[in-house]
Amino acid sequence: MRRNAALMAGLLMLIAATPLAHAQEGVPILVQVILASNTGRGFKPPALSYTVKLLRSPYDKYSSFHLLKEERLVLPLQREGSVTLPGNRVLVVTPLRATGKGAEIEASIQGYMRSKFLLRRGGTQFIGGLSEPGGDLLIAITHE
């Protein structure tokens, strides 16, 4: 009886500790900065092939995508991570809470907006429309 209880307590502690451990080691976030344009024949990184499918009307005006920057961040909860964008802009990403399956992320671009969204592991949130010479910026935030 006592052995069973101890076993159960151990299991509970292990389960309870899993999200904590996940939060402590950090939330892995991939930020990709892409220049979407309809001039030239920009290469399409394989990782972005699905993005092209997503960009239907009114986003289907772009014919090429250039991966300008890619940064991997591993952020503890409530800790900010920043990625500089073209045009002296900065993207600030903060994981607010996380479980084993996903995370709530806050992403802000100073002077434009602050947004909050949930990302499953492997899910991507796009932020687009920032004007740049030669096209528009498309930022892909992926919870790896």
Binding site: A16, L54, S115, R120, Q125, G128
Partner: protein
Amino acid sequence: MKGCVRIRRMVDAYLDGQLSRRRHRCVEDHLAACSSCQRYLESCQLLREALQREAVASTADPQLDLLWPRIEASIATIGPGERARSLRERVLSFWHTGGRSLRLLPIAAAAAALLVIFLPHFRNPEWVGYEVVIEPMGRKDVTFVVSKFKETNTSIIWIVESNG
């Protein structure tokens, strides 16, 4: 005396005052002359009085006053220790016989705790219907369009600059 049987059949009705005037006088005339029927009448009256007393006693006085001292005396003979032991014995008896299922209580509690911990992981209700929250910062010439793509579970926040 002649007619005693017939008169005694009417005694109850005579005592109840239910006889006709003629029969009432007939009974009285007979009783005045017959000592045997007089004694029968008296015995009937005594019996009636006794029955009436008994009936009143059984309804008005249930004799609880007599019962209570006996109940209190019975309780007084059981000491406090004996009463406590009795309760303990009853609890143990329940545990060993009918209350065996209570032994599963810790396991049931652990299972419930597991459900509480695991259920959010399985269901993730917070993911269902969660909207992208956007808060503008500073610039008033900027609007936002949010497009969702169910097939890939992704969405796009499109920043629209009015001068762009």
